[in-house]
């Protein structure tokens, strides 16, 4: 080493600290992310062999140990679509109210507090609520209807918040221009703002329904059944559903084939990740097409 130029010990130690700390962050991130990927891939590998035409389209046989999961798939579809029927219009309308109509006052703040609370209520408490109101008080019985209504209220906060956010991103100038051309408030919202916010709204809807499709606790005592020999005939019938089916076959059926379990999980995962992917696609496409 040339004389006179000595490495600064403080700089060196801070350099070491820097390197070590940044690696620590990378390590932590890997610890979060790798298990997720591992789980998803593991389920795909273990579940793939049991996926067959029969598995998808047949009824379970021999106490779930053989056959397919058709009624559970159909049930989850029913539940998801039924939830959408209630929560999508209500959630979008509420999002519109918050973004486009609500004055900045105490009432609006109260609404926001309510939404934050709805978002935080444990899913099993929604289940209790659904049981108390829809199943018992309104006498819908253990039914698709009761489950859908319960899931709807649970998904509402997601849909409302994403709708509001998507609407707020639409430039204010469009609203002013539309108003100046003689549009009423609703006309501006319906013809200009909402169409521009639609991709964001759709993303929120999909994410909300994704949650509804995968939830078990809210439907546990409101609408699902362990096994049904036929598909539900009306909204007042109980139904089978994938998440509940998974719960049952992985905890309460002795001698259950592990492969069928993984297969069922894979089908649910396919549902949920498919919706996730769809939401991302909507977002990416919209960003590319956006005019502002």
């Amino acid at each position: 080493m040339e004389d006179g130029i000595k490495p600064n010990p403080i700089l060196i130690s801070s350099h070491r600290q820097e390197t070590a700390s940044l690696w620590l962050l990378r390590l932590i991130t890997l610890m979060t992310v790798l298990p997720i990927l591992a789980v998803v891939i593991y389920i795909m590998v273990k579940g793939a062999p049991s996926i067959s035409w029969e598995f998808i389209t047949a009824f379970p046989r021999n106490g779930m140990r053989e056959g397919g999961i058709w009624p559970a798939i159909v049930g989850t579809l029913y539940l998801t679509l039924g939830t959408a029927v209630f929560s999508v219009p209500l959630g979008i309308a509420a999002g519109i109210y918050l973004a486009e109509y609500a004055p900045e006052n105490r009432w609006t703040r109260l609404i926001r507090i309510a939404i934050i609370n709805l978002a935080g209520i444990p899913s099993v408490v929604y289940g209790l609520f659904g049981l108390g109101v829809f199943v018992l008080f309104l006498k819908f019985g253990t039914s698709i209807l009761a489950s859908c209504l319960t899931l709807s209220i649970m998904t509402l906060p997601t849909i409302i918040s994403t709708t509001e956010e998507a609407l707020r991103q639409v430039p204010y100038s469009f609203r002013a221009v539309s108003r100046s051309l003689g549009a009423t408030h609703w006309q501006t919202t319906w013809r200009i703002v909402l169409p521009q916010a639609m991709p964001g709204v759709l993303t929120g809807v999909i994410l909300g329904l994704e949650r509804a499709a995968g939830e078990t606790a809210p439907i546990l005592f409101t609408g699902v059944s362990f096994f049904l020999p036929q598909l539900p005939q009306s909204v007042f019938d109980a139904t089978m559903a994938l998440p509940y089916h998974i719960f049952v076959i992985s905890t309460s059926v002795p001698g259950m084939s592990v492969q069928i379990q993984y297969g069922t999980v894979l089908v649910l995962l396919f549902f949920v990740l498919g919706m996730n992917l769809l939401a991302s696609l909507v977002r990416v496409r919209a960003r590319a097409k956006r005019q502002w």
């Binding site: 801070s14 820097e18 700390s21 940044l22 962050l25 932590i28 991130t29 979060t32 990927l37 789980v39 593991y42 389920i43 309308a93 509420a94 519109i96 109210y97 109509y101 609500a102 004055p103 006052n105 105490r106 009432w107 934050i116 609370n117 709805l118 978002a119 935080g120 209520i121 444990p122 899913s123 099993v124 408490v125 929604y126 289940g127 209790l128 108390g132 018992l136 008080f137 209220i153 509402l156 409302i160 707020r168 430039p171 204010y172 100038s173 408030h185 609703w186 949650r211 995968g214 939830e215 078990t216 546990l220 998440p243 998974i246 719960f247 905890t251 999980v265 649910l268 949920v272 996730n276």
Partner: protein, 315 residues
């Protein structure tokens, strides 16, 4: 100052432009939109009302000393909720102790260190985790995590509080990551540039400047993570071993336990409507509701970020 919800009771919502600039035909639409906006308040009230209606009678029918006893054995009429409360608390605390470093570390990495392309990979993965149904995680817990932990730690059973806590940590992590990342992103770039210009390393900047500046948001993230963990049902129910017993020491986390949520989920299906057992389960629901209410209200106080008005200048 009265709290918001009290003062609201005395002031009716006022009408503004939107309800005036309307054609007669739009009046019902606008009213419908407004009603939808207010519906959330109605739902919260309804939920609280029905929980109270079904759950409060428990105080009378199961009497208080039994309710706050230490034995949960409904068949014999013992409705002590302490074991369940402790079960929830132990599992949640352990879970959040794991989720804090994972969640905050990951959010720091994503927002402060990672290059854009890595960010674009990481974020969807975190979203996948957020979207995984808890029953799927519970299933993996039974099939993979429990056997691993039993072998690894040489426990009598893998279905324990610890297994539940680990799953919960992963369930809470996406919440922590996304909220704390948002908070970090709102720290002005000038703070970082100033620190870096003064010769601070990236880590020093991040640890001494950025993280403290975002601390209220990060705190919110942790609180909502706790809320997420304490309310989680299926995953914990499937892997904690379902033993509603009073913990005797710190090693309770390695033994089977039972949370409040799991108790509701596993017993509600078998009780007679209106029975004391039924009422007590709703009473536990009230406790959970109040927990989440408190956490969320406090969290939203901690993070009163002003809503920024979008650009409004046309002239």
């Amino acid at each position: 100052m009265l709290p918001t919800w009290v003062s609201c009771l005395f002031r009716p919502p006022n009408e503004n432009d939107c309800m005036i600039e309307q054609t007669p035909r739009e009046r019902p639409i606008n009213l419908l939109v407004k009603a939808s906006g207010y519906s959330s308040i109605l739902f919260v009230i309804l939920i609280l009302f029905f929980l109270l209606r079904e759950g409060l009678p428990a105080v009378a029918s199961a009497d208080l000393s039994s309710l706050f006893g230490t034995i949960w054995y409904p068949i014999e009429g013992y409705y002590g909720i302490w074991p369940l409360l402790f079960g929830s608390i132990i599992v949640t605390i352990t879970a959040i102790l794991i989720a804090i470093p994972l969640g905050i570390g990951t959010s720091l990495y994503i927002s402060e260190v990672a290059p854009v392309w890595i960010k674009n990979i990481l974020k969807p993965i975190i979203e996948i985790l957020a979207g995984l149904p808890s029953v799927v995680l519970g299933f993996i817990g039974i099939q993979v995590a429990a056997p691993l932990l039993r072998e690894g730690l040489n426990l009598p059973t893998g279905l324990s509080g610890l297994t539940g806590a680990i799953l919960l940590a992963f369930i809470a992590t996406p919440t922590v990551v996304s909220i704390s990342e948002d908070a970090l992103n709102t720290v002005p770039a000038s703070y970082r540039q100033a620190a870096l210009a003064l010769g601070a390393t990236r880590w020093q900047t991040l640890w001494n400047i950025t993280l403290p500046a975002a601390k209220s948001g990060v705190l919110t993230a942790v609180m909502l993570g706790i809320g997420r963990a304490i309310g989680e049902t299926m995953a914990v129910m499937m892997v904690t071993g379902n033993a509603p017993v009073m913990p005797h020491g710190l090693d309770a986390i390695f033994l089977p336990i039972r949370t409040m949520t799991a108790t509701i989920a596993s017993e509600m299906g078998e009780v007679a409507t209106g029975s004391p057992h039924y009422q007590v389960l709703f009473f536990i629901g009230i406790i959970l509701f109040l927990f989440s209410l408190t956490i969320n209200v406090v969290a939203s106080w901690v993070s009163t970020r002003g809503l920024k008005r979008s650009e409004r200048s046309l002239s």
